[in-house]
Symmetry: C2
Subunit: 233 residues, 2 copies
């Protein structure tokens, strides 16, 4: 892991960050120790239950947030993309509520929670930006509850894949660093079952996979598959 002092003023992501609303001067005077860090794939950035010291912005790469059950089973609670925040629950809970594990090599900026808290008290725009993200996370979590509670395996997987590629609108083929096991832990399925459904989708030419990239030739079609009476309960 490499770390160096970050230059927020010239940060490429400033426009989408929690500092988006601030003037150049304000950003200059954040008075915060912001670190630019890089971590390789498969690194645990923090563990569930750890005292929360830092929050992060994901600048590049993919991260999974995982919760473990006492019986040794894991559930991926959220998947983070370019631009997402993590560790901010530490503003309210003093301990991390999940483990954060990189799926790829990632670039992050790391903020001290104490300083961030103080700062966000001072600058309402920052606080608002954080809360807006929380609200969005809640919305997504509720959508996921619906997915898990009311859809069948194939429909869940199909909707998920649609959403995933939707997060990379520019490319034809989206990077896809998830293993079958990751997919299983995200969708509440066994890796074998995920594997079978993926094979099925490929057989029906609804999906292509090459070297860590996926492509959905006709999203409409896969979406139909996703909705096609994929119901339960």
């Amino acid at each position: 892991m490499t770390a160096r002092h970050s230059d927020c003023v010239h940060c490429l992501m400033r426009g989408q960050s929690i500092f988006a609303g601030l003037s150049r001067e304000e950003v200059c005077e954040l008075g915060m120790d912001v670190q630019d860090i890089h971590v390789p794939a498969g690194t645990t950035i923090y563990h569930e239950g750890d005292p929360a010291q830092y929050a992060y912005t994901l600048r590049q790469g993919g991260i999974k947030l995982v919760k473990s059950l006492p019986n040794g089973h894991a559930q991926i609670v959220r998947l983070l993309h370019h631009g997402d925040l993590l560790g901010f629950e530490g503003l309210r809970t003093d301990r991390h509520r999940h483990s954060a594990i990189t799926l790829t090599g990632t670039d992050l900026c790391r903020l001290e929670l104490r300083a961030l808290d103080a700062l966000s008290q001072r600058l309402p725009a920052v606080r608002e930006a954080i809360f807006a993200r929380w609200q969005q996370a809640l919305q997504e979590a509720e959508d996921r509850i619906v997915e898990l509670g009311a859809k069948k395996a194939d429909a869940r997987l199909a909707t998920f894949l649609c959403q995933w590629v939707g997060a990379y609108p520019q490319q034809r083929a989206a990077p896809f660093p998830l293993t079958r096991q990751d997919l299983g832990e995200f969708l509440g399925l066994s890796t074998e079952h995920v594997s079978r459904i993926m094979a099925d989708l490929k057989r029906h030419r609804l999906l292509h996979e090459h070297k860590g990239q996926i492509e959905i030739p006709d999203p409409q079609n896969l979406f139909l598959y996703a909705s096609s009476d994929g119901t339960r309960a």
Copy 2:
């Protein structure tokens, strides 16, 4: 449905409400049109997709927040108890993201979203209080994702029942206005399956049910049942 003007200053719930941090004088001068309303069981307070005009505080009774899938299936996203907030997503989204349906007769206070928004801009304490609830809702939603994704039916039901009675610590027996269908829509199960598991729990004397009340003689025991390798994926 009955409605009358509310007297926030003397509200019994002021201590736990979003106005908790305010002085008596500040509450007096909220300058908001707060309505005290009562609705019978089975009423839809608002529909998913409706333009959001009001937010509510639940003073008494139970409410379910429901999302429907295109194929006519419903998922209960959250269950609200005495003291919970609803409709506040309207502060950010302009439309309600779920339907709110009463499980019992309920007392609510109704706030205008526009006025509430203005107010919360003015009084940081109010804004903070709302955000604290959002953060908590997110946490609970993530816990539910874990339940739905990583546990089996019986374990899900058992943990849910434990939590439910936990929300009524004062009484031995907790009020239980949920139908088997509600339970199914909450836990992602068919009503029949819920019925069977409930029967099983009763057979093992882990649970009693009388006239809309439930009692868990030995929560420890039911908790064991809930954790007992109730794993999946």
